[in-house]
């Protein structure tokens, strides 16, 4: 990994200029990749001969691409909490769920008791709350942020292992509330295990996008991803980002240098949660509903694996890690399985190996490549320093 020289890089999108990692190169790379993919799936795929396009359908269907982007958005949120601030949140699925249910509540016929329409694509005579997708994104993010503060508050004085458990606890409680929410004091809050479906279509420049308008949805999801990347990088280059890095390394020393620990940690939880909430709303429009049984602990762990694989604190690494793992989970394992089985006449159920995969990734990365596959150069040093020598730059608590 080359040594990064902190220089101010002037790039076309000059707002994204930050010191450290070779940002401009990555921004350019991803922008180009994003546009190429869009062009490919919108136009090129249609004119390809069947043999070629079916390969793509098997190995990289558009739905997987969109779903992977949702994972990326959520992983970026977790990256802020774990990667920047060093707070091991094992219950991030809660924010995904919250985003999903906000979408379910505000973009469907669920609340038959009222009829509120605000910029929505739904026909005016439908009952329920129907707010425009764009408004719901904002609301979902804010609601998630509030819960981020609620979840973070008890952890502020705890050591990292206890912190992990409290967040894990919330990561269990919140989905369970959604799952059992059919009858809260007689009121049907969440429709329980049935979930809420369908959700309204997304309105964009006068078009109405249903769950099958994958190419336009792709653009939206990519833009949301870009937004989260932008926010992450901007904050990190400012005083809050420095505060987070200091807290991650040595929170005691940080507090003695005037960094307000509580406020900074809560900010990390809140801002990270926004990303989770936004991802949750986006996902609800992708699967056209919100379903309680999807929000399990393993999702929190998959997100963690994504952040760990990509390199904690490294936005680009996390994107790559998230895309990789999401793809493997959704398409890669089944497709590889089919190919393998038909080639060798075996009947191995590849997708059932996913637990082995995630567990293996976590263990392997921690033992051998703690800095991630695409490390932020500073992290490489932090996570190996205390192994062999007595450190004199403070311990991560």
């Amino acid at each position: 990994m080359k040594i990064s020289l902190p220089r101010m890089r002037k790039s076309k999108a000059s707002k994204k200029a930050v010191t450290g990692f070779d940002q401009a190169k990555w921004i350019r790379g991803f922008s180009i990749a994003a546009i190429v993919i869009w062009i490919f799936y919108s136009f090129v795929v249609d004119v390809l001969p069947y043999e070629v396009s079916s390969i793509f359908q098997k190995w990289m269907p558009a739905t997987t691409v969109n779903e992977a982007l949702v994972w990326v958005i959520c992983a970026l949120g977790l990256n802020i909490v774990v990667g920047y601030a060093g707070l091991l949140d094992l219950g991030f699925v809660a924010f995904w769920a919250i985003g999903g249910y906000v979408a379910g509540w505000l973009m469907s016929d669920f609340f038959q008791q009222v009829s509120i329409h605000l910029g929505s694509t739904a026909p005016a005579q439908q009952r329920g709350i129907h707010i425009s997708f764009w408004g719901v994104l904002v609301i979902g993010g804010l609601v998630a942020a509030v819960f981020g503060v609620i979840i973070g508050a008890p952890t502020l004085r705890l050591k990292s292992d206890y912190l992990a458990l409290v967040t894990l606890g919330f990561g269990e409680i919140i989905p369970q509330i959604f799952y059992n929410g059919e009858n809260i004091g007689g009121f049907n809050l969440t429709n329980g295990s049935k979930g809420i479906a369908p959700v309204d279509n997304v309105g964009l420049f006068g078009k109405t996008l249903g769950p099958f308008d994958l190419d336009w949805k792709y653009l939206i999801f990519v833009s949301l991803t870009a937004l989260m990347v932008f926010i992450s990088l901007r904050i990190r280059s400012g005083r809050l980002g420095r505060a987070w890095l200091a807290i991650r390394e040595d929170e005691l020393a940080a507090s003695m240098m005037g960094v307000p620990l509580m406020r900074s940690k809560l900010a990390a939880y809140a801002i990270g949660a926004v990303s989770g909430g936004v991802g949750g709303v986006a996902f609800a429009t992708h699967v056209n509903g919100v379903f309680a049984d999807r929000f399990s602990f393993s999702i929190s762990i998959i997100l963690l694996a994504m952040v760990v694989l990509g390199g904690m604190g490294n936005v680009w690494g996390v994107i790559v890690g998230a895309l990789t793992i999401a793809w493997v989970n959704a398409t890669g394992l089944p497709a590889i399985g089919d190919t393998f089985n038909s080639a060798f006449g075996t009947k191995i159920n590849f997708p059932s190996y996913n637990f082995l995969l995630f567990g293996g990734i976590l263990i392997f990365m921690m033992l051998y490549k703690r800095e991630g596959m695409l490390p932020e150069s500073r992290l490489k040093e932090l996570l190996h320093e205390t192994d062999d020598e007595t450190s004199n730059t403070g311990r991560h608590s």
Partner: protein
Amino acid sequence: MAKSSARLSARLLIERTSASLIIGLVFFWLAINLLKSPSQFFQASVIGISNGVLYALIALGYTLVYGIIELINFAHGDLFMLGGVFAATFIAVWFGQESPSSVGYVVFFACLIAVMGFCATINVAIERFAYRRLRRAPKLAPLITAVGVSFILQFVGMRWNGSGPKTWNSVLPSGEFVISGVHIQYTTIFSFAVTIPLLALMTFIVTKTRRGKAMRATAQDADAARLMGINVNKTIAFTFALGGALAGAAGLLFQQTRGVTNYNLGYQLGLIAFTSAVLGGIGNLSGAVLGAILIGLVQGLNDGLPIGLGQQWSQTVVFSILILLMTFRPTGLLGKPMIEKV
């Protein structure tokens, strides 16, 4: 003088008041249920305590390991789950014992030894290959590794036991006796008969043997222990073996008394057991047992009482207790506060 100590005592006051309020509410809830339906109350308590005793075996593993290397072994609950699967395979598949008989009892006890050895070995292997290298690493690393190990163990459970629950018939005597409306299963008595000697044995090992003393010394100060000639690596391995053995025993008991194995049992029960360990004071052995019985009681009462949230909220109740504990009293009932040296 006044301002900041006033602030301190204000916070203390809030904490004490909320704690008292919560405890008061709990007692109130218990009292109402007791008055409303005493036999149901006692029934639920019996179930709760018998669960609690099982949790104690698992909780001890958590607290032993945390006491000695300050790591929450996330994978510990899954070890318990594997113990259950092993037990089912041993008793029902290898020896074909599926109903009470004298051969059945012999096989049961043989299995007890075997499963304890099995789980102890796995736990020692995990420590050796996954955790040992990370002993000096920042806390994030071994924690994440432990989560990874948990997933691998669950994977093994899935391959071995399938992706859904399996039911089994027990070699333990079925049937119950009834005391004034309260049903006590023979299997419950049996559980106690196995668990209590195990706990006694463990107490003996920890307090009276050299290995046990080495454990306690290492838990207090590993460097000093090393200077005294204690082989810290071996001691830690021994601790893991002990914890693993207890988890295995718990797995066997669970499989025989509840008749069920499932790959995700470890996760669910592991968290409950861990909460018990924290409730009692993490690192404190009698605390783990005490905490486990209390949590078992709370859970049993919540599930079985007329005025309770019911089983579907069971996890939420236990996790809420965990969160409240961590927020207000992380040292638990019997634990000691720790001070960070600067």
